[in-house]
């Protein structure tokens, strides 16, 4: 089992001079522009930004679903040229195969790799055990709660021993309590596996709590506005979310994002509209922020 669970630290993601635009009738529309990011082996990195800023686009390009218009995406120096089992992915939408049981879902990647049945059954059981899901191995996904589905989704993505794990707002559809538990589970699995993680979210607390580093993106066309190291020590506890260090980071990120969100909605809101919203201005006037 050890070959499945423990992997040598690798998985260096590099995104250089990246831009991506879509064709439309009015000409190309830029979704992401002039972006550089990197994830060191074993590092947990999040991307936050206002909705529609292109953070998912960036992640999908790392996964290999989208081709950059300019620039290059590499993992361990190898150019990304389409999806592969080297880059596991967890999606916001539940993406378990409804016609496969929990264990068959986890086994799928191993089956694709040609692992014999008995071996992959054992591997899947071990992994499900680590995630506390062994009792559900024979269930079909429909019978599971949202949190369990995503846990199986994470286990399935990790089963093939990928170099990096990509997560696209995986807990976005979960309720607040479940989300907190899922964050803890993800942290535990990440620490055990020493895998590189690129995590997209719009939840600032989530990004700070989980990450070693957070990239904050600008409004569309998205680019990197700031890169914030998170020096909080590990292992992290829920109680740390009340610490002044956490709150300081949160305040900083908050104001960065708020600027971009307001920019993104600039056309839709005027000062009158903003007065109804209770926005913390930290001593600035609304005009300054905008």
């Amino acid at each position: 089992m050890s070959e499945v669970v423990v992997k040598a630290p690798q998985g260096h993601i590099e995104v250089k001079n990246f831009s991506l635009s879509y064709d439309s009738i009015e000409g190309p529309v830029e979704a992401v522009t002039d972006t550089q990011i990197h994830v060191k082996p074993g590092e947990f990195v999040s991307i936050v930004g206002p909705s529609g800023c292109g953070k998912s686009t960036l992640l999908n390009a790392v996964a290999g679903f989208l081709k950059p218009t300019t620039g290059i995406v590499t993992v361990d120096g190898e150019k990304v040229n389409g999806p592969s089992a080297e880059r596991g992915m967890v999606f916001q939408q539940y993406s378990l195969f409804p016609w496969k049981t929990v264990r068959e879902n986890v086994e799928f990647g191993l089956k694709m790799r040609g692992m014999p049945r008995s071996q992959r059954e054992r591997a899947a059981r071990t992994l499900l055990g680590l995630a506390g899901l062994e009792a559900f191995e024979k269930h079909y996904p429909e019978k599971l709660s949202g949190g369990m589905k995503q846990r199986v989704g994470i286990v399935r993505a990790l089963a093939t021993g990928p170099k990096v794990l990509l997560l696209d707002e995986p807990f976005g559809a979960l309720d607040a309590q479940t989300r907190v538990i899922m964050q803890q589970i993800l942290t535990n699995m990440w620490q055990r596996l020493k895998i590189s993680v690129l995590f997209v979210t719009h939840d600032i607390d989530e990004a700070i709590f989980l990450s070693d580093r957070v990239y904050c993106m600008t409004a569309r066309p998205g680019s990197i506005k700031a890169e914030i190291p998170i020096p909080l020590e590990r292992p992290r506890q829920q109680s740390m979310m009340m610490s002044s260090e956490f709150l300081g980071l949160r305040r900083g990120l908050m104001s960065l994002i708020r600027e971009e969100s307001i920019k993104a909605m600039g056309g839709e809101l005027n000062d009158m509209g903003m007065q109804g919203l209770n926005i913390e201005l930290h001593g600035h006037s609304l005009a300054d922020v905008i």
């Binding site: 592969s84 999606f91 993406s95 799928f108 694709m112 079909y140 399935r156």
Partner: protein, 278 residues
């Protein structure tokens, strides 16, 4: 409502019966109403025919349920009647199976490869609205034997519902599942086998159920026009020979056979798609 049973002693037979009854009340009710409504139908039929009611519709010559029952008891000992039934079933089996064997893979391939869709879809759309019965003269010209042309008509009847539903199923496959499979190292062939095919199965089975219904419609029409055997021919022959009870017997036989074959398909569907069981 009585209070819940005390937890200590094991529940007695009567409490178990009561609980079972409470849990299955809905189903029992539906069954009871179903039986009553069938009996009521028979009673109305009996009254209308016994009193030879003429009220816009004429029941003067319509056989009574008892007359039909009498001709049924005679027919089940008649090898000729059984042969009619058997031949119809065989035609359905060949026509429908051929349609499923051709239409399901074709639909899957059309759904996956745009070029195939672009080539075949226009032809299918032109042929689809032609009722299978309209094919009868052409079928007689096309095929050397009567038997083959009837099977061909049955085939045509079920072919298009199966094809259209398979295509529909393919168009609804959730792209995120395809992407998930790709991220797990699946290549084209496994994506087809492990994602597109199972994802389309519920719609394929809808197509098979509809196709089976249309297969019977087409078969009976074809048998009435050009058959020498078959339950459709039996029904039409009964009319020509003024054996009115046999007309109703033929109709009921067709109904029962149609119901039985769609139940078979539903059963097969549950076997193939265990994840859809509630």
């Amino acid at each position: 409502m009585p209070a819940s049973t005390p937890p200590a002693s094991p529940p007695s037979f009567s409490t178990l019966t009561l609980r079972w009854y409470r849990l299955n009340r809905g189903g029992l009710r539906a069954t009871a109403i179903g039986i009553i409504s069938l009996l009521a139908f028979l009673l109305v039929w009996h009254l209308l025919t016994t009193y030879r009611v003429v009220f816009f519709v004429r029941f003067t010559n319509v056989p009574s349920p008892l007359a039909v029952y009498a001709s049924f008891t005679k027919a089940i000992h008649d090898p000729k009647f059984l042969l009619h039934v058997l031949l119809s079933c065989r035609r359905i089996f060949f026509g429908f199976s051929l349609a499923a064997i051709v239409a399901v893979p074709l639909g899957l391939i059309m759904g996956r490869f745009k070029v195939v869709h672009e080539i075949i879809f226009p032809v299918a759309e032109v042929l689809r609205p032609i009722p299978a019965i309209a094919w009868v003269p052409m079928a007689i010209m096309l095929w050397p034997t009567n038997e083959q042309s009837i099977v061909y008509i049955t085939f045509l009847g079920s072919f298009f519902p199966i094809l259209v539903n398979t295509l529909h199923g393919m168009s609804l496959v959730d792209p995120v599942l395809v992407r998930a499979a790709q991220c797990l190292g699946a290549r084209e062939r496994s994506i087809f086998r492990d994602v597109y095919f199972p994802a389309s199965l519920p719609h394929i089975f809808t197509g098979l159920t509809v196709g089976m219904g249309v297969a019977w419609v087409s078969l009976i029409a074809a048998e009435m026009i050009s058959g020498q055997y078959g339950i459709g021919y039996f029904t039409w022959e009964a009319y020509s020979l003024v054996q009115y009870a046999d007309i109703a017997l033929g109709m009921i036989a067709i109904g029962v056979l149609g119901l039985g074959s769609s139940m078979l398909i539903r059963g097969a569907g549950q076997l193939v798609m265990p994840w859809r069981l509630k």
